[in-house]
Structures are given as structure tokens and as C-alpha cells.
Symmetry: C2
Subunit: 299 residues, 2 copies
Amino acid sequence: MGIVVVGSVAFDDVITPFGKNLNAPGGSATFFSLSASYFTKVKLVAVVGNDFPKKYIRLLEKKGVDTEGLRIEKGKTFRWKGRYSWDLNTAETLKLQLNLFQDFSPELPEDYRDEDMLFLANIDPDLQLKVLKQVHSPKLIAADTIDYWIEHKRKSLLKVLKKIDILIINEAEARKLTKESNLCKAGKRIISYGPGSVVIKKGEHGVMLVSKEGIFAYPAFPLDDVCDPTGAGDTFAGGFLGYLSGLKSINEAAIRRALVYGNIMASFNVEGYDIKVLSKLNRAKIDKRVKAFRRVCSF
Amino acid sequence: MGIVVVGSVAFDDVITPFGKNLNAPGGSATFFSLSASYFTKVKLVAVVGNDFPKKYIRLLEKKGVDTEGLRIEKGKTFRWKGRYSWDLNTAETLKLQLNLFQDFSPELPEDYRDEDMLFLANIDPDLQLKVLKQVHSPKLIAADTIDYWIEHKRKSLLKVLKKIDILIINEAEARKLTKESNLCKAGKRIISYGPGSVVIKKGEHGVMLVSKEGIFAYPAFPLDDVCDPTGAGDTFAGGFLGYLSGLKSINEAAIRRALVYGNIMASFNVEGYDIKVLSKLNRAKIDKRVKAFRRVCSF
């Protein structure tokens, strides 16, 4: 099995209470691809400008990521500048330069269209719908979204939700999408919009999955030092879906384990700036932390 | 074994986004005692005025709580009025009438002083120190505190911390006490102040225990309907310490299970106003939810 991801490859300028990290590699598809690459074959669809360093693309390729779907165009790469609060729980966008991403219209290479799994990272829901028309019949489709689309493209987003299996969203977005303060109820309402399951990411508080079968919830892996939360959500999604994609069949026990792998991948990612930790992992390190996590929350 | 609790028995006037609950029975020692009564023998030390309905005291006695240490004095009972935010995560104090509680000076009845366990609920750290002088040598001493004492009685509070085994505190208080935003680090710093362990309560996000042996973390029990969070923290402490108090010996596995029992007791408490749910439980209902919780977070 393999997984196609459609999203952004970008530059991030990040300010945390502890320091700055400018001109860093980022974007939803970057974090997702790197994270998922430890478990499965990833096929990447995104666009960058010719200002984007080739070394990052080579890094992805070295991790086995198929970059046939990554278009390199003349112009500037998407850039996000943000600042985190003192407890690293919220990010304020200081500047957003869409650049080439403004006219991004994802086109899947022919051999991507038969892939088993698809992850629609946070992009305009109208583009997510466009991608959905190109794939043949993936066994599992997951999507992410953000505040902005919930507010400005609700109608298109609801169309996307009818066509996907799993929505991966953060706590505040789940509340905003459903106008429901209780997360269990918010999760159930999202399921009524279409997806069989919804994963609610709660940052330092872990993750919750709501499905027709019930609710699973896990704390985050406890960390003494969080450096940079940028990309944690996409790294989670990469670990979660990447792990599932690497399996022969998916059942409840597999989904529970996959959530834990997502959790653990995110915990690695936030320990360093941008993709620094994520690019130097191996399966043994990952499995070791999964084992440590079992010690944290079993009783 | 048994446990002595020193704290408040009070009236609460509570406003939630869904309704009002006025003249309700409340106070840290009330929630703690009721919760712990399902697991152990509780001895209560507090003060109320002669305006406090006898039926609530009879209810505590019916649950096996020893009320010899509950003084009933001429005058008015402590009263708290508060309003919860739309997501029930924060409470704003609208009015605080200390009344008789202002001159509360806890005196433990003679037969309380030899008890195995002691819980110092949230009261002035100087009074907590006074209680500590009265007890002989409990096997386990736990304490709670709040913002106000961290700000105004830091010196006395640090003296308390040197004499106790477990501090039970919420997330914001842990951060405030240590001036440390990372909760793992905050927990470790608190341990350096004296207690062997610190339990950090995170409301809807569950609970975390930091000790020299490591970190345990659990999500909260997922609930569709939260009615009134008042007393959840003390109900947690009652379940946690009550469960430990009911055991012959305490080891790591017991502490992990005790945290889950605390979690589950709090989950019951928030489902109804004041002590409504808490007063009508039984051990079978509690154990059933512990079992359901295992399904929520095992993998």
C-alpha cells in the first residue's frame, strides 16, 4: 500500500519564546511526507518556486518519497510567518505570502490515481474536491482543514466531508465547525456530516478519535522540552495514516495503535525546529518511544 | 485505614451556560468526603453555620463519613458564587463570602490524630501547617492549594510542601507556582520543593502524575454532557486518595489505578449539579466506568 498527500511545501519563519527559526522548510505536505515515510510509500503533490532549496527535495526523495507530483515553478514559494505564545499552545500568524500557492491547482500524475490511500492536507476545500475527482477509488481518504476554510468555504468543506472517511482537525476547529463546545458531541456531529471517524488533535493534551464504534483518547507523550510546535498536526497525520497505510488490513486495534504512532511522531517533531528531528529518525527510535508511551498511560 | 480531610463545607451559587444552581451544597471537604466514602472511612474537619441544612450533614453520615470534626457554629456558612465559561473550562468568581470560614482554625478531634492518611484541601497554608502539627505520623499526606495562596502566601505554602507527600494542583496553578510553562518541568520543579509526587489536574484533558519514578498521564473520561464542573478537583482527590486509603499497601500499580479512580469519580461528579450524582453512586457503577475507561485509552 501507499499514500498520496496533497498539500503545501513551504518556507516557515517561526518565532517562539525561546528563539527564531527563519527560512525553514515547512508546509503540511512536507511534515506529513517525512513522518509517513517511516511506515509506507508516500507520493507527494505540491508546488514550490525555484527559490526552494533542492536539498530539501533530495531529503524527501532519500526517505523514499515520490516527488513526481511536486511541481517546481518559476517564482516564489509559499511562506508563513508566525509567533507562538509563551506556553507554545497557540500560534499567531504574522504574515502569509501565498505566492505560487495562490494558483496551485493539484494535478495527480497518472500512477498516483490508483493509490490505496489519500490525505488531503489543509488546502482550499474546492481544491480538495478537485483532487477527489482525480482519484479512482482509494480504500481510505482522510482530510484536514483550518479555521479559515470553516469560516469562508463552509459549503465546499461540507461537500468534502461527505466524500471522506476520516477528518483530522484540531480542538478549536472542531468546536468552530460544529458550534458545539463539548468535544464528544462535536465529534459526533462531524460524523453526521459524512466521515466515519474524526480525529481531534489537542496539542499538548493528546488526541481523541470519535467514530460510530466509540471514543478513543490518549494523552500526549510527556516532554520536558518543546522547541517548535510547527507541523505537529501534519506530523501526527503522517504517523497515523502512514502506519495504517503500511498494514495489510485495518481494524480497531490497528487504528488505536496508529493513533499512538501519530502521537509519538508529533512528539519527536516538536523537540526541534522545523524538520530537524523528523528527518533523522528510524523505526527503532520510534518503536522505543511507543513502548515508553505505553508505560506512561497503561494501568 | 482511613483518611482525615480538612477543608470547607459551603454553599455554592453556580451559573453555567445552561442554567443556575443556587444555595447548593459545596466546599472542598464535602466533595472530597463523598467521593472518598466509596472506598474508605473518612473523618471530616470543617466549620459550618447554623444556616447549613442538617440534611446534607446526615447524607455525609449515611455515607459513613465521621463528622465529629465538623463544627456547627452560630452564624453564616462560607458561600461561593461563580460563573463558568461557555466551554465550562474556566470559572469566574463573582462573589466570595467567607463568613464563619474567616476565623476557621482547624482542631482535630483526638482520635483523628492517629489516622493513616491526611488530605489538606484548599485552605490557608498557615492553617495547613497548624493541622500538620496536630497529626501524629500519617503514612501519607496530600494537599491542594489555589492561585490565591500561591500569590499571597508563597512562603507558608513552600513550608507545607516540605512536609507533604503528594501535591494535587491544577494545570494553571502548577505553572503559576513554578513560573514554568512546560508541565513536565513544572511537576519536576514542584518535586524539588518537597513532595515525592505531584498530581496535575487538567480538567477535560485528564490528569498527569509526576514523581521521581516517572510520569503517568491519562485523558479524562469522555462525556457528552457536562453539567457543572464545581468540585471536580476535590472529587478527583477523594477518589484518588480514598482508593489508596482503602488498600493494604501502596505501590506504583496501585497509584496508577488510584489516579484512574479519581478521574472516574470526577467524571461522575460533573454530570449533575453539586453533589447530586456523587451522592447516589455505588461501587458497581464506579467499577463499570473504570472498565469503560480502560476501553477508551488502552491500545
